[in-house]
């Protein structure tokens, strides 16, 4: 499998606090990687660095062989790295359709695809409803639809299942599995059931460093990981 | 170029700058502590002028009127703070700015209704005529007094904020509101107090100004521009910067009007734009 993302020596500090401490890793194409770790471990910060919401203090990021360290958010989105947010972050005053249209305009996708995605994710009936008026679960789907319309090569999802009721969670898992067959996924998650259902590879972060990285079975049995999770609770 | 004329013009500039300082000190204090950019600040300055005028007409006592004008302006400011501004501390800056603009408009129009549209001034020839002679020109004691008051205020504010316990509280709220609350400092009390001081200072400045300069509608509009230009060049929230920049703008204005009256205001605005483009955060950095 080819390497799609390579991160080298990435660091970011806020004052004296080292949020991301000299992190390096590769992501392989079409692999579903899940990033786990306790709160404050630096997972979201790492994602923010990769997606250029934040500037790294040091380090390099290569995407499909190309150095993207100095690009900004909209540029890397156009290159194919798409992310979703932990807290739903859409265009509140625009309708569901309009939200999707903005995404379609970003990747120069035509309206037919918008219709297709809406029917696949069963968003049709919300088409003309303002996003701020739909339920949380629907908002998450809209966000996912937008991400897909951006034609990602690498899709980064920040806690996609957070706050979703059980039904929706199962639905989401199914959808992500399907997506994962065509698009490389990097998912930050806390829900362990979710994690082990989906993950082909797990990276564990703690205090700004990646402390474990491998197949799900190996990670379960990893003593350091157990200490962090069982020791901390 | 005549050295004596240059010195005179510079002094005039310092004098004007001191008034700008009285205007921007309050603006900066209010911004530093509450993060509100008070569009109505010059309206309160002018309110101080009008109040001074009215009090002086009735009492004919300079000191009494000055104190009364200052305190009354401050109190009116507090009324606005408690009833209106408090409600917008937590919402977007855009709306805060619009609210203070609305207050400015309301104050300006109220002033027109109460005091009329013709300029008001106080006639105190004793204050203006006595002075020090430099060569052929006469520098009035009054202008020296104003410049000195500005300087003294600067020193006092510096001492109070940096060396007193109360100043420490102000600095705590300035830096980090949440932290201050954790330290059991009541931020709302500080906000109201700082508002009072800031607006009272503006009123004080206005009251001093009407002694020598007539005040009428439009004066506030003109002053608020200069106030904004100064605080933004000085970096929003920087007190020392505000003092230095106020004096600088006063001096540059004065020299420009003397040397190049055809383009004096053009120069000021051009300088402002250039500085803001090159150093958008202002010259001094936030304190």
């Amino acid at each position: 499998m080819r390497e799609i993302l390579r991160v080298e020596n990435l660091s970011k500090s806020f004052g004296k606090f080292k949020a991301v401490d000299n992190v390096s890793f590769n992501l392989r194409e079409l692999e579903i990687t899940v990033l786990i770790g306790p709160n404050g471990a630096g997972k979201t910060t790492l994602v923010n660095l990769v997606t250029k919401k934040l500037k790294p203090d040091q380090g390099r990021i290569l995407f499909m062989g190309r150095d993207i360290t100095n690009l900004n958010s909209y540029q890397i989105t156009r290159l194919g790295i798409v992310r979703t947010f932990q807290i739903v972050n859409l265009f509140p005053t625009l309708t569901v359709y309009e939200n999707l249209k903005v995404a379609a305009l970003g990747s120069k996708t035509d309206n037919k695809e918008i219709e297709m995605i809406m029917s696949e994710l069963r968003l049709d009936k919300y088409k003309d409803v303002k996003v701020m008026n739909v339920s949380f679960g629907v908002q998450k789907l809209v966000e996912l639809a937008m991400a897909l319309l951006l034609k990602p090569r690498l899709l980064i999802l920040d806690e996609p299942a957070a706050g979703l009721p059980r039904e929706d969670r199962k639905n989401l898992m199914r959808i992500l599995k399907e997506i994962g067959e065509k698009i490389t996924l990097l998912i930050i998650e806390h829900d362990m059931e979710f994690v082990f259902e989906l993950a082909q590879r797990i990276m564990v972060m703690n205090r700004g460093k990646i402390i474990a990285d491998g197949k799900p079975d190996d990670i379960i049995n990893n003593s350091i990981v157990r200490e962090i999770y069982l020791g901390e609770s | 170029m005549n050295l004596e004329a240059f010195l005179t013009q510079t002094l005039v500039g310092l004098y004007t700058g001191s008034f700008y300082w009285l205007l921007t000190l309050g603006l900066t204090l209010i911004f530093g502590v509450t993060r509100i950019v008070n569009f109505a600040h010059a309206s309160f300055f002018v309110l101080g002028s009008y109040l001074m005028y009215t009090f002086y007409i009735y009492t004919n006592n300079f000191i009494l009127s000055l104190s009364a004008a200052t305190i009354t302006t401050g109190l009116i400011g507090v009324i606005f703070e408690i009833t209106l501004i408090r409600r917008v501390y937590k919402i977007e800056e855009m709306y805060q700015l619009l609210l203070t603009l609305g207050i400015a408009l309301t104050l300006n129009e109220s002033q027109k209704l109460i005091w009329g549209t013709s300029p008001k001034y106080i006639n105190m020839p004793e204050l203006i005529s006595s002075g020090v002679a430099i060569g052929y020109t006469n520098i009035s004691y009054y202008s020296i007094a104003v410049i000195s008051i500005g300087l003294i205020l600067f020193i006092i504010i510096h001492i109070v904020i940096n060396k007193t316990l109360w100043g420490l509280k102000i600095r705590a709220v300035w830096r980090d509101n949440i932290m201050a609350q954790a330290l059991k400092i009541n931020p709302y009390l500080i906000y109201t107090t700082v508002f009072f001081i800031g607006i009272a200072l503006a009123g004080f400045g206005g009251a001093l100004m009407i002694i020598l300069h007539p005040v009428g509608p439009g004066v506030g509009d003109h002053l608020i521009i200069y106030a904004f230009i100064i605080v933004v060049i000085a970096s929003l929230g920087n007190i020392t910067g505000a003092y230095i920049t106020s004096l600088l703008i006063g001096v540059i204005s004065s020299l420009a009007t003397w040397l190049a009256p055809e383009i004096d205001i053009v120069i000021i605005y051009l300088i402002t734009i250039i500085i803001l483009l090159l150093r958008p955060g202002g010259l001094f950095g936030e304190r």
Binding site: T51, K53, N72, S73, Y74, T77, R83, F85, N89, L90, F91, P92, T93, L94, E98, K101, V102, A103, L105, G106, S107, M146 | L84, R87, V88, E93, M94, Y95, L97, L98, L99, L101, G102, I103, A104, L105, T106, N108, E109, S110, K112, L113, D221, I225, F228, I229, V232, L236, E262, I263, I265, V266, I268, Y269, L270, T272, I273, L276, L277, P280
Partner: protein
Amino acid sequence: MNKFLRDINIITILILSILLGLISLTGDRFYLYISSLFMIYSLYALSYNLLYGYAKLLSFGHGMFFATGAYITGLFTLRIFKDPLIGLLISIISTIPFALLIGYITLRHTKVYFAILTLALSMFVYAILIKWRDVTGGSDGLVGIPKKGVIVDISSPQLNYLFILIFFVLSSLTLYLFINSSRGLLIKALVNEERLLFTGHNVLVIRLYAFMISGVVAALSGSLYAVFMSVITPDIAYWTFSAEPLIMTLLGGSDYYLGPLLGAAIYVSLTTALARFAEYWMLFLGIAMIAIIISFRGGVLGALILVTTRLKDKRLKTSK
């Protein structure tokens, strides 16, 4: 096409245009005057709301485009070629690079600095207009801007009125169609700047686009003003004039396309028809502004819509 014909904003504009057209038939100078002013200020306010309501940019210098639009038209028709239509077109075309330049300078700054920078820039324009006597006439301004031109002759009040009416209808419709196009959608998306960046869009470019169109429409309204009044003075560049479209927009309601029109109507009525009470009305506007910010941001139009939807809901409930 059908969808547009049924769109309430378009219907309103068309009905309004017909009413305004009927006014021209009466020939009543007062109504012609007040309606002309309404149309000019409406365009000015619409252009402002493109920035404020849609692009979420608070500018205090919008008057600079109105003023340069007015002065370019005035200067061109007085000194170079005597025709109001050509003058107006030249003015609009010259505003495009001017607005792009100003936008490029100002839009990279954060909200408060952007507001103050636009303020300083418009005062700079004011300073030039007032000091450059030889060209701009200084504080006396430009007088006797011609209405009788080589191509169009709008010397008669009715023709002048029609001239304004045509531009009013065309501009308000075009702007509306624009805001509902794909480009317009991207401008509406500026409500969430971060999300827009992460959707692969260059936010600065989108803002620049909105700024440019806004500036051009403001310049158009300024040009119409110059020809209509025949006399223009530098105070249209003073910052207080920049605050007027802001007040009109807030008053009418910035959330709706036609809000600024309602605000302009209220404003013009208060300041001209009831000029005797002008001071009181300005005070009232100040208080209204405060009230709107503190409690109800939707403005008058917003309030009307809220009331009508509540009534509609009540009716639905009772009919069931």
